[in-house]
Subunit: 165 residues, 2 copies
Amino acid sequence: MSSRGLRIVSWPLERFDEIWPIIEEVAEGEDTYALPAKLTRDEAIKLWSEPGRRIYAALSGEEICGTYYMRPNQPGPGDHVANAGFMVPLRSRGAGVARLMGEHALAEAKRLGYHSLQFNFVVSTNTPAIRLWRSLGFEVVGTLPNAFRHRQLGFVDAYVMYREL
Amino acid sequence: MSSRGLRIVSWPLERFDEIWPIIEEVAEGEDTYALPAKLTRDEAIKLWSEPGRRIYAALSGEEICGTYYMRPNQPGPGDHVANAGFMVPLRSRGAGVARLMGEHALAEAKRLGYHSLQFNFVVSTNTPAIRLWRSLGFEVVGTLPNAFRHRQLGFVDAYVMYREL
């Protein structure tokens, strides 16, 4: 998939070090992800290499301008629902990277046989993400009260968002 | 904590093999938990030994009649919300084991400094569990459409349930 010079590719775990700076930056932000601010590379590799997790990267030429993962949201009798998480570094925001990755994830989840795609923890103050997911057909199916400690805003809700495929 | 001859104790991971038959039985049921029906002991140990997960057991004399775990529901800025999962084998049902464990979990989560307790995946057809959690002050804050493949009933919803501490 490509748009305005961007393309999405499947990303091998062996090349984790090239996406790690993006993950590190997003974790340090403490404003969109429930990841430790001081996430170490080893902790991240452990998370990103769990069985069933696939990794993708958004490329502009050879530059990595975003990454996302997809995995079964639950094991066993819940593994027909996909979960995904999207990360775009500050320097690449506003260029449609997240939208392209979201569209790619929907197509990919369908191709892999999932019935739906669910985001478990969309921070309620992350307005650009919520607007984007709504525009791609996701709806809020749950509100987790005060579930996220935002670095600037303190305790804020998180949403569960869902779309059938 | 004890009631009608039952007591709840903290359970060391080294004694995992004594609670494993309960976990195995619940997974095989494919009617309440998003765990693989053919969950192996090794897979279960890996799950139950994740960092931050605590294990408890309900005892009647020396007999184990239930087990539950508690852990941070999310890492980093989400780790003030506790998650717990409760398992009672068929032979011990109807004796108030789940209620006692639920009450214990609420007290324990508070003692450990959590702000709230959240269940991520309560199968909507698991009426006894839903009735119990409601009676302990939990409410449904999310409905995950068709998120669980029930062995007998096919695709059914799962609930996210939540209680402030």
